[in-house]
């Protein structure tokens, strides 16, 4: 826990951690008097590393969830890079935790270490994305394939099942992109009157998405709907529509729900449908790992999108948008973290 706090580096959380550690010490002192009492489980949390705002929120929620469960969380920083994350996994295994929560950066590369951990009896919960083998305890992730379906259906209905659809792709070969597209295509193939105008792949870059969308809009075609793979694509798409003063803007589907997308949509009176790719899902990951460590049976696969609080975000959007928080906050993070904790993450305006 203290290790994580140091990495976080903020004065407030540091203080909070020291206080929490003192509390934990007294708690242990109390429980040591009763032999055979509740054991403190250790969970190694191997993050992506604070390389982007999604991962930072995921980490903060995980830390808070661990505190709530009374487990000891040891933090390992993946530094946003699969090759840097690998040795961290090995270090984590060497410390023999009861369970590991891994946010995989390299689906194939992480397979070996995960199998090694499993063979040593360490429970492994994969958080947010999977690896190439089936040898893990549980996988907690949104299923983009199914989660994209209600959004695509909403969009098709809004388009009255006809007209030009402006499409901005994700990153070719990326697993999330592929499953996203599967969900999208399974809906759109039902409507031959919808013409998909493919403007290219934005590679999860806002500025690339904006440039592609601006070009497509400038071609003079009228669009009755738009779809972007991922929050970045949708953000760029929205900025392009706003700057080109397309009025009324076509309905847009495909985003991951951030406060910024909601802000743009509300301020510019746009209709946007988002799925949740929530960083708060790490709460589920930690809880699952804790249960597994205790010896309880946990499901092999947990689809975040099936949980009621993580359903699709469809208009009207006012009830989701929180003007006091910054663009980078994902919908729902404020339901887990306090305002002070959000402030430490630069998420309060």
């Amino acid at each position: 826990m203290s290790r994580q706090s140091v990495r976080r580096g903020s004065w407030e959380t540091g203080f909070a951690a020291v206080a929490a550690a003192l509390l934990a010490l007294t708690a242990c002192g109390g429980s040591s008097g009763t032999p055979g009492g509740t054991k403190t489980y250790t969970i190694a949390f191997i993050s992506q590393g604070t390389s982007n705002s999604w991962a930072a929120q995921l980490d903060a929620v995980a830390s808070k969830a661990a505190k709530a469960d009374g487990v000891k969380l040891v933090y390992f920083n993946g530094q946003g890079d699969a090759t840097k994350q690998l040795p961290e996994i090995d270090t984590a295994i060497a410390q023999k935790p009861d369970a590991i929560v891994l946010v995989p950066l390299g689906g194939a590369a992480d397979t070996g270490p995960v199998e090694r951990a499993m063979s040593q009896g360490i429970k492994v919960v994969l958080c947010d994305s999977t690896i190439t083998s089936q040898n893990y305890t549980s996988l907690v992730t949104p299923h983009a394939e199914t989660a994209a379906v209600p959004l695509a259906q909403w969009l098709a209905d809004k388009m009255n099942h006809q007209g030009n659809l402006l499409y901005i792709g994700g990153l070719p070969g990326n697993t999330t992109t592929i499953t996203y597209d599967q969900g999208f295509n399974s809906v759109m193939q039902k409507y031959p009157s919808i013409h998909i105008i493919n403007a290219g792949n934005a590679n999860y870059s806002i500025s690339t998405a904006k440039q592609l969308a601006a070009t497509a809009i400038a071609s003079g075609k009228t669009f009755t709907g738009a779809w972007g793979v991922g929050g970045e694509a949708v953000t760029g798409l929205m900025q392009a529509l706003i700057d080109a003063k397309v009025n009324p803007a076509p309905p847009i589907g495909g985003a991951a729900a951030t406060n910024g997308i909601l802000r743009l949509a509300i301020q510019n009176k746009m209709e946007v449908a988002s799925l949740q790719f929530p960083p708060t899902s790490s709460q589920v990951c930690i809880d699952t790992a804790y249960k597994a460590a205790k010896g309880e049976t946990v499901p092999k696969s947990i689809n975040i999108s099936d949980l009621p609080q993580y359903g699709p975000i469809l208009p009207p959007l006012d009830k989701y948008y929180k003007p006091q928080f910054s663009d980078d906050m994902y919908v729902g993070t404020d339901s887990v973290l306090t305002v002070d904790e959000l402030k430490a993450l630069n998420l309060v305006k």
């Binding site: 976080r8 390389s51 070719p172 806002i206 500025s207 071609s219 663009d327």
Partner: protein
Amino acid sequence: MKPLDRTEARSQLSTFAAPPNQGGREPRNVSGSSSPRNPVRTAGVVRLAYESVASTLLRLPPTVRGYGLPIGTSLLVAAVVAVVEPGFYRPANLHVVMQQYAVLGLVTLGQVLVLLVSGIDLSVGAVMNAALITIALMNHYNENLLLVSLVLCILIGAGVGVTNGLLVSLRDVPPFAATLGMTACVQGAILVYTKGIPAGNIPTALRPIALDGIGIVPYSLLICLAIGLVVIVFLSRGSYGRTIYAVGRSAEVARRVGISTTAVRVSAYTLCGVFAALAGIILSAYVGYVDPAIGGTYNLQSIAAAVVGGVSFIGGEGKPAGALIGALFLLTVLNVTTLSSLNPFTQLIVQGVVMLVAVSLFHLIKRGSFA
């Protein structure tokens, strides 16, 4: 000299007099169709046409080749575009192209300066990211500090450039490694500073730079062209340009006439960093949303634009005007393929093939040989 002349004469002769399939270059029978002679003849005719066009081009006087060819080629490209994708010329589309060109043009100008002194700058993308982050964070709560933040962006660009230049010229670090290392440093600094969460927003007061303008010409393009004009004039007529080309072609000769090769190199990298920062400001204004990876593709795009425009990696070869045309060519290809709404994978292939053809043709013409 003499044997060379003879070979040239012979190759010319064979081009015009000999049957096209002579000279051991029997084209493969690709079609596998009825007559085996048919594809041979077709390939021969294509080769004949290519070589006669090429040799005609070669016979042009150097001034025509220097200025006429790029202009002629541009007109040809413009005509091809008009046929393939007439939508390109819609004012709305031209407006978009100009907005995007302002950014790529600026980065390319800086890259050319560095390429001319035998360097390469792979940190322009990182400088653009740094510019965006600086603007976003400093204008998070209010926009009073907009001008200060812009000045700071320029200073960051200059600082990265000076460091690159000093590493390359004083510590002999290969430019590739030095600038890539600087990229890591800048990105790392951004992460440390933002803790991975680049909160903030792009001030609305900044946005007219990229969005507004005179008619369909955005202010950003005017800025880019003004700077481009200054660079073109100073490189072709200024003593600074002479020192840049001298250092790029022979640092030893330059040193011996009293030119400080260190100062020249550092200045080139510094200007490159400053131009990248400016491009970052303009792109931030254009995108209007905090995108921490805003400069992602500009390292390679600027190098590609310069190379398409005839700038060489060896140093001392090429002109900023050529590179600006190269950047326009590059953006036109990207724009037309996007307009075509082809499958994105096909778009990539088309872009790649067009680029390869452009670069190889340009260098063949420049080298003046068609071996």
